[in-house]
């Protein structure tokens, strides 16, 4: 449109990415998170190729079945998050609250199961440190032979641990959004906070799908 026409109408900034600030900010932040996980996962790949003997047979040390169930939970929580956002898009505040609560509970369950798994693994001698690594594998006696080597433990805890930390932070943010939703902060036209935490949550889920594949299934 002509410059003169712009001068006479309400002034708005250039369209940019045609996405509101908070959403753009979250996308940009998630890109930096991709790089962070790249650093950890890249290190794992390099170390694994250099010392494949440090890794045990799939399923002998890690509990693939339990974690598969846990993965299913996390994917469910992404579904509930989608439902929560869809609810508030329709202006359904009660729906938003219900589905947010579901997401929080499932997310917390995911973390809880992971903590349980860590404790079990540590008890079986699967630790990140060099001294003290003696992973006998699931269901084996404590004085059994050690499976794999310390790089297995170190990379496992680094990748899944930081992922778990991101899930935990996500759960805390979801609680914040949930409390706000109880106060009626979100409407069909003011739902940026919900969309933005939803983006973060889906990202965390996607990273887990990648991690589950490369850590547990390969």
């Amino acid at each position: 449109m002509s410059e003169a026409a712009v001068a006479t109408m309400d002034r708005k900034p250039m369209p940019g990415m045609k996405v509101y600030n908070k959403k753009l900010g979250m996308w940009v932040f998630l890109l930096s998170e991709v790089m962070f996980f790249t650093s950890l996962i890249g290190s794992y790949v390099i170390l694994r190729f250099a010392h494949p003997d440090h890794w045990a047979e799939v399923g002998t040390v890690l509990n693939v079945q339990l974690t598969a169930v846990n993965t299913f939970f996390l994917i469910c929580s992404s579904v509930t998050m989608v439902k929560a956002f869809a609810a508030i898009q329709q202006g359904d505040q009660k729906g938003l609250q219900r589905w947010l609560l579901a997401t929080i509970l499932i997310g917390a369950t995911f973390v809880g199961i992971q903590v349980y798994e860590y404790i079990a693994l540590a008890g079986e001698g699967f630790v990140p440190a060099l001294d003290g690594y003696h992973a006998v594998g699931r269901g084996n006696p404590h004085d059994g032979p050690s499976l794999g080597g310390p790089l297995y433990g170190a990379t496992f805890y680094a990748m899944t641990g930081f992922h778990g930390a991101h899930v935990s932070i996500g759960v805390l943010c979801l609680i914040f959004v949930y409390v706000r939703s109880l106060q009626g902060a979100y409407t069909a036209t003011s739902l940026e906070g919900v969309e933005v935490i939803g983006l973060y949550w889906h990202f965390v889920d996607l990273v887990w799908i990648l991690l589950f594949t490369i850590v547990y299934l390969i």
Binding site: V6, M14, S39, G42, S43, L47, L130, A158, F162
Partner: protein, 598 residues
């Protein structure tokens, strides 16, 4: 903020709250105040980094001589008993000098100060996209700084494995005798990384989403362009470092062996992670200065920047290429030689866009109308010293030749030419040029020129001969080169360099005095003392909260200087086209008087 209605003006918005001292000066969300906070903190750390450098040079210039009495008392016996610097303290000195300079001086001064000051003002926004995140991003920095400073006072002293912290030297305290210090170094940098990431995401979001109407991508001033590209590099590179620092911290504290060979760890993995971050990092340290130099040279030559589009493409190319050259830091590391060759190619290619920028700056000066004030002098010095730094890089890029000069003073010369000759002189140009907008007064021009000429002289006296030290084979990070017979003859050169550094450091007192004096006594600056075109200079000096009374409209690019049809040699970006006749002096057409009886 982007959904605020246009009918509520920015001035009205600013009047809503009269802020307390704490909200206005300490926990401010105003980008201009945050810029000043970064400036104050950055300059303090620059001073500290400089003092560490002076101490290093005392040892190299006067090896084994006790420090002069007036500074001897600063250093306890664990560092310099009787004033004689210990070898382990020397290793900490070189490590901490670089660490403070790179992370706590240059990055805050480049990105923290100018990203915050320039971006909203140059694109016509009232503030950053996320002002509260901006405030957090500043305050993380002094917290990280305190952690880093604390490392000097713990048992074992501060980190001593170089700013590059190569494993296994840095992964196990038994190798350096430094335990807590190394851990604190890692924690400090992990914390500091968040400051960069939060700041960068703010800059990127603001430039993308908050440009005033008419401010198309190719009407953005080059300073903002360079800060925007730098923000992308920060966003993507810092998390890589954070990951690596965490793994190294794990090696040190919980006994993992990511980088320790006794547990099948890979020392070279650390180098790959560090330099994959480290090379984009050095472009983070120079790109903003290139942006400032473009602004200053165009403005002081009263001439459009030569090749604006090429300059933008060059910035983007450098940013892209910076990701694929990291291996040139590792030519002699034992890395696969075939891999080494690919890095030779990418490294020489990245020289091309840098050269293009140099040619374009020269093209801007060509047939210009050059005003020799302090900002211009520093900007031209940037170009001339960057040429030297860039050309010395060619030697290193040729891997066979790098064999000899790697880890020698030739590298030290190169990096100081680009970081001091380049970045620091660029920062000086930026501070002097934008000081009036920040503080409402001009810095003293005479003192500025004296500071410039002495700095330029002493700087070159100190750093040019370092190339020669490298050619003679003098290694880096060596407490006492006289242990080697082949280096003993170089002592006079080392002493000359040290004295020149002392003179260079002392000269900075002139800048400090000028800075502080001008806050109160500098000539009052109007809105646009440099007669520039950018939106930033349409505001009062300093600008009020909210910056613009209403959102500006942009009609043209930022470098319309000396247009032949205009009497004035500048043409602000927001000046409407209708009033462009007769050099922009035409008064708006008078509204017709109401006729009685209508």
């Amino acid at each position: 903020m982007s959904t605020a209605t246009a009918t509520e003006t920015h001035a009205e918005h600013a009047e809503h709250h009269e802020l307390s001292f704490i909200r206005k000066y300490i926990f401010s969300t105003d980008h201009k105040m945050i810029a000043k906070q970064f400036l104050f903190a950055g300059l303090m750390f620059l001073l500290l980094g400089g003092l560490l450098a002076v101490t290093i040079r005392w040892q190299l210039g006067f090896p084994g001589r006790p420090l002069p009495a007036f500074i001897q008392w600063i250093f306890p016996d664990t560092m310099a008993p009787g004033g004689i610097i210990l070898p382990e303290f020397y290793n900490s000195l070189v490590t901490m000098h670089a660490t403070f300079m790179v992370f706590f001086a240059l990055m805050p001064l480049m990105a923290g100060v100018f990203g915050n000051l320039l971006i909203p003002l140059q694109i016509g926004a009232e503030d950053m996209a996320f002002p509260r995140i901006n405030m957090v991003s500043f305050w993380i920095m002094p917290v990280a700084g305190v952690i880093m400073l604390a490392s000097f006072f713990v048992e074992g002293g501060a980190a001593g494995a170089g700013w590059t912290s190569y494993a296994p030297l840095s992964a196990d305290g038994q190798y350096t005798g430094v335990y807590m210090g190394q851990i604190l170094w890692l924690i400090s940098l992990i914390v500091l990384g968040f400051s960069s990431i939060l700041g960068a995401l703010n800059y990127v979001s603001t430039v993308i989403n908050m440009r005033a109407p008419g401010m198309t991508w190719f009407r953005i001033p080059l300073a903002t362009w360079s800060l925007f590209i730098t923000a992308w590099l920060l966003l993507l590179a810092i998390p890589i470092l954070t990951g690596g620092l965490i793994l190294l911290l794990a090696d040190q504290t919980i006994g993992t062996a990511f980088f320790r060979p006794e547990g099948s760890g890979e020392p070279l993995l650390w180098q790959h992670i560090f330099w994959f971050f480290g090379h984009p990092e050095v472009y983070i340290l120079i790109l903003p200065a290139m942006g400032f130099v473009s602004e200053v040279i165009a403005n002081r030559s009263r001439k459009p920047i030569f090749g604006y589009h090429s300059m933008v493409i060059a910035l983007v190319s450098i940013a892209f290429l910076s990701w694929v050259v990291w291996g040139h830091h590792m030519f002699q590391s034992g890395m696969n030689p075939l891999l080494g060759m690919t890095f030779v190619v990418t490294t020489v290619v990245i020289a091309v866009p840098s050269a293009i920028k140099v040619f374009n700056w020269m093209g801007t000066l060509w047939r210009g109308n050059i005003h020799f004030d302090a900002p211009l002098l520093h900007a031209v010095a940037f170009v001339s010293l960057f040429i030297i730094g860039g050309l010395s890089g060619i030697f290193m890029a040729a891997a066979p030749v790098d064999i000899y000069i790697h880890d020698t003073y030739f590298i030290v010369a190169h990096l100081h030419y680009v970081l001091v000759g380049g970045s620091l002189f660029g920062i000086f140009a930026g501070i002097i040029y934008w000081y009036p907008k920040m503080f409402g007064r001009m810095m003293h021009e005479g003192l500025g020129k004296v500071h410039f000429f002495l700095s330029f002289l002493f700087y070159n006296m100190a750093f040019f001969p370092m190339h020669n030290l490298g050619v003679q084979g003098m290694m880096r990070r060596i407490y006492d080169p006289n242990q080697y017979e082949f280096l003993q003859g170089l002592q006079p050169l080392n002493t000359w360099i040290s004295i020149s550094i002392f003179l260079f450091a002392s000269t900075q007192a002139i800048f400090a005095f000028n800075f502080l004096w001008s806050l109160r006594k500098g000539k009052v600056a109007g809105n646009n003392p440099w007669k520039s075109n950018t939106l930033l200079w349409t505001t009062p000096s300093p600008p009020p909260h909210g910056n613009f009374p209403e959102m500006p409209i942009v009609y043209r690019g930022p470098y319309e200087y000396s247009h032949p049809d205009r009497e004035q040699d500048y043409w602000p970006q927001d000046e409407p086209p209708a009033s462009s006749e007769a050099g922009g002096q035409v008064a708006p057409a008078p509204t017709p008087e109401p006729v009685p009886g209508d």
